[in-house]
Amino acid sequence: MSTSSSSSSSSSSSTTTGSLSRRRSTPVDSGLGWLDDRLGVAKGGRIFMDKIFPDHWSFLLGEIALYSFVVLLATGVFLTLYFVPSAAQTVYHGVYKPLDGVKMSEAYASSVNISFAVRSGLVIRQMHHWAADVFIGSIAVHMCRIFFTGAFRKPRELNWIVGVSLLFLAIVNGFLGYSLPDDLISGTGIRIAYSILLSIPLVGSYLATLVFGGVFPGDGSIIPRFFILHVLILPAIIAGLIGAHLFMLVRQKHTQFPGHGRTEDNVVGSPMFPTFMAKTTGFLFMVTGVLWALGGLAQINPIWQFGPYVPYKISYAVQPDWYMGWLDGAMRIMPSWEFAGFGHTIPFMVFLPGVLFPGLTSILFIFWPFIEQKLTGDRAEHHLLDRPRDRPRRTAVGAAFLAFYFMLFCASSTDVLANFFQVSLNVVLWTFRFVVFIVPIIVGLFTYRICLDMTGVSHVGKRKRAVLIVRSATGEYTTVDTEARPGDGHHELEPMLVPGFIEGLDGDGAEGGEPGVRRVVRRP
């Protein structure tokens, strides 16, 4: 076992000898006692602190998103202190000379000021932007873990839906935040969003007028509207959904990989306090540290180089942030089809990739648990995770979809690829129109084959052992399995009963088993 178990073993060994119940009370104890006398926190707090979390590293992926969100909130609050959410025109006379005397919106001027005139403003702004990129990236990775291990199956379908909603809300909020500085690049993005709204049949023009307060660029209300959505409404919904996400996780208990002593009825891992608490707090600091380092060392979105957004000006080579890449890619490779007749035009080249495609994607993602139930007929409760290779069809479908969206993501940089590899842009475009469909099929079949080949491999879930490769006198190579390395301190986890209350530990310690590993019996 790793550090986590050794620290927890020391704590549980101290509790098993009963020293906790007999030791002298500290100021913390009396403080907690004071709270308990008034609010009765002991019972709930005890259940919470004894909550068992499995230790597998892939269960920490969601926490990357959680802590990126914490960083987003903290840095975002700092930015709101200096950002002016207004499209009112002003003339810039700030530190950055190439923009001196240029007419621009208050939003852009304040964003440039945050980058140049506010102390540590640029570090915070870049941290905020990197944290947004990492936030959505870690949600995607976390979602892949949930998908490929089947953690969305009954009884966790609701939590899957909450998670998918969080992904799409995060993407929308990322786009809104990216649009706020009102620089030339982000203004182009808002222009595209306006066109996407317009492309919706029947209601498009009304909807676009409603959102923008008039024909593009509207009456200047888009910046304050995006601002209030970005800093208040969507973060509040996201925070609420994260709360629901975690509440359901605690209520339903965490899933775990199958292994020695792990059954559908127990959870093997470390208790919330102190082991998991220490580990996850450290993880918070490390995520923050990485985002801080990125914010300080790697430039992101140097808006002062772009200048303010003016509707009749444009820069070539405009891409959205990475999480919008799949939509941008779909838009780029879409042939220019449209329907014109009866006095109306339906621009399929915008409506299909810009509205229908993300709509279908979200429906498919949200309803996936039920789609799979329908296909497999498996409606049983599952608390033990699948290994991806043991579900070759799901794994193949997932890999194919990942490949599909990744190819669309790459299609979002057609011009960069054409320029870098010095090939014709038209060739790159046509290539993507085919590989977007061909690559997922190949990836899916390949994954299916690999999964089939990997089922039946022994030692699943066991620690790896060294293999000796021996060459005989005749030149033949054979492999010999070795024993587990002697004295390396690793041993498989043994389950151990955890009582509801700490007093019970005195007696239960005698039951033996591996110290530091507890078992929670799932109550029906």
Binding site: S2, Q305, D321
Partner: protein, 281 residues
């Protein structure tokens, strides 16, 4: 026992070291960003009453220059363009295009041509500035310069140009192909807008005035000499030496590079930390 103790040490030291290093790095970068806030930004200058014109067009060449140019032209150019620069089936007529056109193509290394692809590529120039000027002088001596083309090689007083006016003109006229950071990008059918990060002030002015390849000509009716000087000042200033505060510049190609850094270094790096924190079986 000794090895066990050593691994224990590493086990506890490594997290501490990582946290310390990341924290220290963050602290230093925020301090340095704070410090650079105080440092002065490059100062743009508005020319109030320029004693010299913003662009000097030098078109008076000596007979010695013309002669040197003729020797070079006959040896290196005439096989395609003809000895009198009258053009052929494979190369255009150069007569009347003026010295600025010729100087641009030769000094950027595009001529002599490497191969007949969609677009001539910038490469290390075969001739130095003096030789390029001589070739331009020879071609200019063959015929009077046509209407709309400058009759001399432009030399720009970049100090006189206004950076903020240059910024506005650049976004309006240049960024649609060369991109807002001047990195250049692919256009349709194999053509491309080249990067502006290596062009000299004279070459930028020549390109604006003569419109090489797919680029349109921006004549005196479109942009005044002062405006061209503003653009040149902006290109040779902030475009070629961008204020890359905030860390590594990532090539000025925007979210493509940023996305890879966010996913590979950001998410990937943190996943490695998670892998190290958690159990693996």
């Amino acid at each position: 026992m000794a090895t066990v103790r050593r691994t224990m040490h590493v086990r506890y030291l490594l997290p501490a070291a990582v946290v310390a290093a990341v924290g220290l790095g963050g602290l230093l970068t925020s301090l340095s960003a704070g410090a650079s806030t105080r440092s002065r930004a490059p100062s743009g200058t508005h020319a109030i009453a320029a004693p010299t014109p913003p662009i000097r067009y030098v078109g008076n060449f000596t007979p010695a220059q013309v002669h040197e140019g003729q020797v070079l032209f006959e040896a290196n150019c005439s096989s395609c363009h003809g000895t009198q620069a009258e053009g052929s089936a494979v190369a255009p007529d150069l007569q009347g295009l003026g010295p600025a056109t010729v100087d641009f193509w030769v000094s950027t290394g595009r001529m002599p041509l490497a191969d007949a692809s969609v677009q001539a590529t910038r490469k290390p120039a075969r001739f130095d500035n003096q030789q390029a000027t001589a070739i331009a002088a020879y071609v200019a001596s063959l015929a009077p310069t046509a209407q709309g083309f400058p009759s001399g090689i432009p030399y720009v007083d970049t100090q006189a140009g206004s950076l903020s006016m240059g910024n506005r003109l650049f976004v309006l006229n240049c960024a649609a192909c060369h991109t807002i950071t001047g990195a250049g990008d692919a256009l349709a059918e194999g053509a491309y807008a080249p990067s502006l990060h290596v062009a000299t002030s004279t070459q930028v002015a020549e390109a604006v005035r003569t419109g090489p390849g797919n680029m349109p000509v921006f004549g005196p009716g479109t942009l005044s000499n002062a405006q061209v000087a503003d653009i040149v000042a902006y290109v040779t200033g902030p475009i070629q030496h961008p204020n890359d505060r905030g860390g590594i510049g990532l090539g000025g190609i925007g979210p493509v590079a940023e996305g890879f850094v966010a996913l590979l270094i950001g998410v990937g790096g943190i996943m490695l930390i998670a892998f190290w924190l958690g159990e693996r079986a």
